[in-house]
Structures are given as C-alpha cells and as structure tokens.
C-alpha cells in the first residue's frame, strides 16, 4: 500500500483563519513551492483524502464542519494544524467566538507554527505527517486491518 505515502491526497479547511495561512497553503501548490512534485494532490472531497490541513482556530460554526470532515476521511488519516491559530487559537484565543486550537475538537498529529506559517514549514509539516501516516498504516496492518 505504498500509494498512500507516494501520493497522499490532502484536503484543506479554513476553521476561522484570517486567510493568511490559507493562501500560504494554496501557495504551496503553485509553481514556486509545488507540493505536487511529491505526488500530493489537493482534493475537495474528504472521502478521497489522507491528510487534513486545518488553518485557523475553531469557532462555533466550523466545529461541526471540521468534525464531520474528519469523520468522513478513511483510516489511516493524519491532521496537520497550520499556523498558530490552528495550534492554540493564536491572537484570537480570547475572542468570544473561538473555542481554541484544532486539538479541542479532533486529534492533531502535526503542529506547524508561524503566523502566517511559511510555505516551507507547511511542506515540512506535510512531509512529517506522511511519516506518521505510514506508522499508522503499519499499525493497522499489524492489527489485521486493511
């Protein structure tokens, strides 16, 4: 099943970011940084995705969407929190509408710091996530999963 590590598909959701991290995630996919050279494809469908990138803290409205998207993704899956907002709530942690970092609602595997997170660190985060994905897959195989 090396196809997962060779060509992981990612899905991105904006929890409540200021767009700063969002556009950096998008910038990763464009010519200068070009995540696609690692075989990574950006998809809009959670059922196709292996890596879940979340930008921004979680607020009242995005809580359900993030949970839902996470549950729809097939196992094994990894979650990458991109930007300080997604890690802890960042500058907005004291806002009335913010619940906190992404880890308040779903388990997070990799935290990418920065405000805004730089494309280089996002790529680094994704590549690390792939390592974790591989471990998870191996564990599943041990247990006799698919």
């Amino acid at each position: 099943m090396s196809y997962i590590t060779k060509s992981p598909w990612i899905i991105h959701y904006d929890g409540s970011s200021c767009n700063g991290c969002d556009i950096e995630v998008l910038a990763c996919l464009t010519p200068l940084y070009d995540l696609e050279r690692f075989g990574i494809v950006n998809t809009g469908n959670p059922k196709h995705a292996d890596v879940f990138l979340v930008t921004g803290g979680i607020n009242a409205q995005s809580e359900a969407v993030v949970k839902n998207t996470y549950e729809q993704m097939p196992d094994p899956k990894v979650v990458v929190a991109v930007g300080i907002c997604a890690c802890t709530g960042g500058v907005f942690r004291e806002c009335y509408n913010i619940i906190g970092g992404v880890d308040k609602v779903i388990p997070v595997d990799v935290y990418v710091p920065g405000c805004a997170a730089r494309p280089e660190s996002i790529i680094d985060g994704v590549v690390r996530a792939l390592g974790i994905l591989e471990e998870k897959r191996a564990k599943m195989a041990e247990k006799g999963g698919k």
């Binding site: 959701y13 929890g15 700063g20 556009i23 998008l26």
Partner: protein
C-alpha cells in the same frame, strides 16, 4: 410552474478557498434567488479592544484578513493618529503607500489566478501565482513577512527601506512589468476568458451605486469610486487616477483588477522617485480620546475603520466595515438569473474575502 429546487453551495466546496454558504433556488438550471450565509470564520475580534491596548491592537487589526493585512493596519493607525493629532512623517507615509500597493498587486494577482482556476484555465492560474511570488519576494525582503507584515505602528512604521533597496525594487518591477502585461493581454484577448466572462451577470452603474457596491465591482460598472483619489497617505502626491470599465460584466470586473496591477507598479515607481528623507516614526504618548471614521481603498474596495476612544488605554469600540461585507447585497443581485455552472465564476468576481467579511 416549473420545478424549483434549492441547492446548498458551500461552506466546504472544492471551488471555494474559503467558507461561505449560499442557498441557491434553482428553476431548471437557472438561479432565481440566492441567499448567502456568512459567519463561518467569525471570530469576534472587534471585541478584543477590551483586552489589548490601542497600540498592540494594530497587530490584531492586521489579522482581520491575511490578504489586505497591511491596509487594515494602516487604516486603523490612520484613525488613531487622527484622533490623537499625530503627524506621521512623510517618509513613513510614502513607505506605507508602497507596501499598500504591494499588497494590492499580490492580492489582485492572487485573485486573477483564482479566477482563471474557476474557469478551468490551469495554466493561467499557475502563471498568475508565479508572478505573485515575485511581488512577495520584495515584500518579504523589506518587511520580513510574506502575507502578514507587522511593520505598521501607531505614529509611523517599524522599518525603513534603504535607498539601495528601493532602487532594486524598481528594477525588479521593471523586469516583471512585461510579464504582467503579457498576462493582462491574455485576460483581455483570450477566447476562453472572453467566452466565460463577457456579458455574464451584468451590474449596471445605477444598480452598483444603489446597492452600495465598492471597489473593483463598482469600478467595473463604471462608477468612479476609489478612495485613493481622496489622497490619504501619500496618494495625494502621486497623481492617482482610478481605473474604470463600463460594461459591468464579469470580464470588466476582472480587467479592472488586471489593469490596477499595472497602475500599482506605476504608483510604486512614482513613490520611489519622490521618496522624501527623514524619520520614519513620530513618538506617540498618551491615550486617544475622541472618534474617527477612517476610510481606505483596499484591494477589494473601500474599507472603513471606526474608532471610538475615551482617553483610556483600551479603546471603546472598533468597528470595521470591510469591502466584502458591503459587496454581499450586489452579489445576491448578480447571482439572479445566471446558470448554476457559472455560479463559481460570478461569486469570485466580487473577490469574496470571507476573513474580512466575517471578522
């Protein structure tokens, strides 16, 4: 009566980089009504004025949106400086203006890319984003940040740009200017682009005015409405002329932006040529007391920061009326009567910035 169905669109949708939700009422393939729901990224940051003092709050104001970041911080500072009667030194005004124009270029190029993507024109998308990286390189070299700069402060700016660097920036812009012109030529003449956008969802000048459209949406319909003509920051000294088009369709909204990129290049060149010497900040002491409405022209249109302060460290109220928020009513009108397949393109032409819109 033909069949009416309601199609929900968003918030998590492949063509939308950001979450907005639309309930589209369809009659066959045509949209008869569109009802937007916003607030997916509502953080409530206006309330943070109670917890941060007015100087620190500049950094929060900057994070209203990661694309117009610098313009937000400048507008907020303008309001505070106006209340406190602080004279910002000319050099700071000029450098602020240069950074604001750089934000505009990167924002418009980003948008042009997304628009190309919405039309399925992948090559143009990548090309626009490649040019955007060139702009961001200079932004990063001078401020240290790509999308969030953090270089604006009450009373001036945090960093100067050396004269050598200013010269290099102009040289760099000279180099990419032909590339920008080339990409504009594609937007103006390419068959695919014209086919998808010409004549699509027309907004007349009168409607644009009545509905309160701002920015490229209004200028694409022929309204001569650009806050930069009022001459805030250094714009008064740079001989600014707004770009307007008259058809009011998707193509014209798009051309306004592509032309504005070149206009920004001109503005930067002129600003560098006229750059005054001197300090880059004015010392600010005490607390603000009073109120001010500060307007500015962001990449997406006219933006308003209202500040009310009562002489304490924390201001009483900060209200931001962002361009996307005002452009929602025009969007609702624009969507009426178009085909479902065109919805993504039309939504994009108002350049929705949901981070701004929801705050």
């Amino acid at each position: 009566m033909s069949n009416r169905i309601v199609v929900p669109f968003g918030p998590q949708h492949p063509v939308l980089p950001e979450p907005i939700h639309l309930d589209l009422v369809l009659e066959d393939e045509r949209v008869v009504e569109a009802i937007p729901t916003i607030g997916y990224v509502h953080r409530g940051l206006e309330k943070l004025v109670e917890k941060r003092d007015y100087k620190d709050y500049v950094l929060i104001a900057e994070r209203i949106c990661g694309i117009c970041s610098f313009t937000h911080s400048v507008t907020y500072c303008n309001a505070i400086e106006h209340i406190m009667g602080v004279e910002v030194p000319p050099r700071a005004q000029f450098i602020r203006t240069i950074w604001m124009e750089y934000s505009r270029m990167h924002s418009h190029l980003l948008w042009l890319g997304l628009a190309a993507d919405a039309m399925g024109f992948e090559n143009l998308f990548m090309n626009a984003w490649r040019l955007r990286e060139e702009i961001l390189d200079d932004m990063e070299a001078t401020t240290g940040g790509r999308v969030i700069q953090g270089t604006c402060k009450v009373g001036g700016i945090r960093r100067d740009i050396g004269d050598d660097k200013l010269g290099e920036m102009v040289d760099h812009l000279k180099k990419i200017r032909p590339l920008l012109e080339e990409s504009n030529r594609i937007f103006t003449h390419d068959q695919t682009v014209r086919h998808r956008m010409r004549g699509l969802s027309v907004l007349s000048e009168k409607d644009a005015w009545d509905l309160g459209a701002v920015g490229p949406v209004a200028r694409g319909s022929g309204c001569d409405m650009d806050v930069r003509s009022s001459g805030y920051s250094a714009y008064g000294e740079l001989g600014f002329k707004p770009v307007t088009f008259s058809h009011g369709d998707c193509l014209d909204r798009c051309l306004v932006r592509s032309e504005e990129v070149l206009a920004s290049v001109d503005l930067v060149e002129r600003a560098v040529a006229k750059m005054p010497d001197g300090p880059i900040e004015e010392k600010v002491t005490g607390n603000p007391e009073g109120e001010c409405f500060a307007f500015s022209e962001q990449p997406r249109g006219e933006c308003l920061h209202y500040v009310r302060a009562n002489g304490k460290k924390n201001i009483v109220r900060h209200r931001v009326r962002t361009p996307t928020f005002t452009n929602v009513p025009p969007l609702v009108k624009l969507l009426e009567g178009i085909e479902l397949a065109d919805v993504p393109v039309v939504v994009l032409t108002i350049d929705p910035c949901i981070g701004c819109c929801d705050r």
